[in-house]
């Protein structure tokens, strides 16, 4: 409790500092005259700096910042802006603002709809305990050897979090596993092994599909803005081998760090597949949607289109009702949409190119770029939200690789996917991800246990993402 309190006191000063710095940047930037940057670029820079400061220091919730970004763009940069006289003074031929609807439209971006589809499937799966039942079935083959049980928990958590949010998956798995693990003697490291295998499985598993975790959406949306649409199945083809390898190696390493003392362990889960007609509709729609997603290349229906099928069918058939629809994590959609919207202005006002022109990148190879952005992303994402880290870095990275890639889509997809993925491996601190916070709160592990596992996962994730990205992915794309 003492540490929580200290954190809270620090948080207050951080808050006011964030407000002053962020709003200060928004007000001051337009009045600077930075060489080679358009007046609109100055305003966009003000919004970008304010958003970054707010996202990092969190004077207001991160999703509120995202919504604020859209509002700021509408009020300052769009054709409905409130500062027309100022624009007239800046531009001789008159400022050509983008339509304000461009910014609002980001809330209905196909990537956002893709996530909405994921949310509706996850809500239905939770409502009819499909997640619990799948856990029970999938855990069976792992037997009773404690190390294997831990592997099973990690793998199952990973599979589920590829389709549900990492946080919801962690909460469900903790509910299932913790009461049973709590019966293991207190000094047996097996308790810590299982308690850690859940957040590790969840954080890594989220990488596997486009809907697994919001940073994936940030990377995909940035690519889509360049006209590079990555099919659901292509993302899985790239990400799944990486997820499997890093999960296995993390498990192997964690078993060395926390060797189980007990000989056998049975993880029993008390649940049965529900047989009501609504439950069966839920299973069928889940299977249909995921099936259509992974076969996107065969039928050519984009995943963003498929995603709207469960959004409509689940409530139409009464599988979900108003209450569950209200319960979607709408703030995550706004969080991502704000980032997409900011990316629009970064590009449109020439701000992204301008930022890049400040540094002589000619000395950097793509490998160098990826390593640099990966390291920065990993460091930042341990301290602030993964989505925010990706949102700040990806638009800059994409402007950098664009000229190098030429028209080669693989050369564009690979570095952006690497950066979007590496942030998900950031889980050293309790604040790095919500699954970490949940694991720590159970009291089964301590912060240093989390740090040990987090460093292991982080190093494995970084190294293998870069290796796979540079060596394997070019062969797959």
């Amino acid at each position: 409790m003492a540490t929580t309190r200290k954190f809270q006191v620090g948080f207050f000063s951080k808050k006011s500092m964030g407000l002053v710095l962020g709003l200060g940047a928004l007000l001051v930037m337009p009045f600077l005259s930075l060489p080679d940057l358009s007046p609109a670029g100055h305003v966009a820079l003000g919004i970008f700096v304010m958003a970054s400061v707010f996202w990092i220091l969190e004077p207001i919730p991160i999703y509120a910042t995202s919504m604020g970004v859209i509002l700021a763009q509408v009020l300052l940069l769009s054709d409905q802006n409130l500062i027309k006289p100022w624009w007239d003074a800046q531009y001789e031929g008159g400022y050509q603002p983008p339509a304000y609807t461009d910014f609002y439209n980001t809330l209905a971006n196909p990537i956002i709809i893709l996530f909405l589809g994921g949310f509706s499937l996850a809500a239905a799966a939770e409502k009819y305990a499909l997640d619990r039942n799948l856990t029970r079935i999938m855990l069976k083959p792992f037997g009773q050897r404690p190390a294997n049980v831990a592997l099973g928990v990690m793998m199952v958590t990973g599979v589920l979090s590829a389709f549900m949010s990492n946080t919801a998956t962690t909460a469900m798995m903790m509910t299932v596993a913790i009461p049973i693990v709590a019966r293991v003697p207190v000094d047996d490291p097996f308790r810590r092994l299982v308690a850690l295998s859940i957040p590790v499985g969840a954080n890594i598993g989220g990488i596997a599909t486009p809907i697994g975790t919001p940073p994936n959406a940030v990377a995909l949306a940035a690519l889509a803005r360049q006209g590079t649409l990555v099919p659901f199945s292509t993302w899985m083809l790239l990400a799944t081998p990486l997820v499997v390898v890093t999960l296995l190696l993390s498990w192997w390493g964690m078993c060395r760090m926390f060797p189980p003392g007990i000989r056998t362990f049975t993880l029993t889960i008390d649940s049965k597949f529900q047989r009501s007609s609504k439950a069966i509709c839920c299973y069928l729609i889940f299977a249909l949607t995921v099936g259509l997603w992974v076969t996107e290349k065969l039928h050519g229906i984009p995943s963003g289109v498929v995603a709207f099928i469960p959004v409509v069918l689940l409530p139409a058939l009464g599988v979900l009702d108003k209450k569950e629809i209200r319960g979607f994590s709408w703030e995550v959609l706004w969080l991502v949409a704000g980032g997409i919207s900011l990316g629009l202005s970064l590009r449109q006002t020439g701000l992204a190119e301008w930022m890049i022109s400040r540094v002589s990148w000619e000395n950097f190879s793509t490998t160098g770029l990826v390593v640099l952005f990966g390291l920065v992303g990993f460091a930042v994402a341990n301290l602030v939200s993964h989505t925010v880290s990706a949102t700040i870095l990806v638009p800059i990275a994409i402007a950098l690789v664009l000229p190098q890639a030429g028209g080669d889509t693989a050369a564009l997809i690979i570095p952006i996917a690497i950066i979007g993925i590496i942030v998900s491996y950031s889980m050293i601190l309790p604040i790095s991800t919500p699954p970490n916070a949940i694991a720590l709160s159970t009291g089964l592990i301590e912060t240093r246990d989390l740090a040990k596992a987090g460093w292991l996962v982080g190093i494995l994730g970084f190294v293998f993402t870069v290796l796979f990205g540079l060596l394997l992915w070019p062969l797959l794309l």
Binding site: Q8, A171, M174, G206, H386, A437, G443
Partner: protein, 165 residues
């Protein structure tokens, strides 16, 4: 800072009160344990907790006490808005049928522990009732999770933090 959820024990016999407080002290790193020797003193403690912005998750109350008895005290709490969700446990060997019926019907009694009790049982009841309290209030269970019963707060946990960030 998350809300401080307290455990309140009301018992007129000092020795018994000591035992209860000592047995529940394993939860004290998350849930502060307060004690009172009578319902009047209990009201003072409640006022202090409220003044600090805290709340009471569970009250363990003896029945036979000088002045207002335990059941009357719990019934009066039930009628007070901020203690409606507070889980009320009667810890007694002496409550007759009428008093017990009144406690269930009018005080919304959550649990009845007969004297003598077992320390593990007492702690488990406290953890269960605190879990139900957190769930009923829809509080974020994370700060309290260490001592909560997972099965009882699983849904609350998922609902309060379902999203990634």
């Amino acid at each position: 800072m998350s809300e401080k959820i307290h455990i309140l024990c009301v018992e007129d016999e000092p020795d018994v009160l000591d035992v209860i407080v000592r047995e529940l002290s394993v939860l004290e790193d998350v849930f502060p344990v307060e004690s009172a020797a009578s319902s009047d003193e209990a009201r003072e403690v409640l006022a202090d907790i409220e003044a600090e912005g805290g709340s009471v998750g569970v009250i363990f109350c003896d029945h036979i006490m000088p002045g207002e008895n335990g059941v009357e005290f719990l019934v009066s709490l039930r009628k007070t808005e901020q203690y409606r969700d507070t889980r009320k446990v009667l810890l007694t060997g002496q409550a007759g049928l009428d008093a017990t019926v009144k406690a269930v019907n009018e005080a919304g009694l959550a649990h009845y522990i007969a004297k003598p009790w077992d320390a593990d049982e007492l702690v488990l009841v406290a953890r269960e009732q605190l879990s139900r309290y957190v769930a009923a209030r829809k509080l974020n269970p994370l700060p309290y999770l260490k001592h909560l019963v997972m099965d009882l707060v699983g849904d609350t946990l998922r609902d309060s933090l379902k999203s990634d960030r």
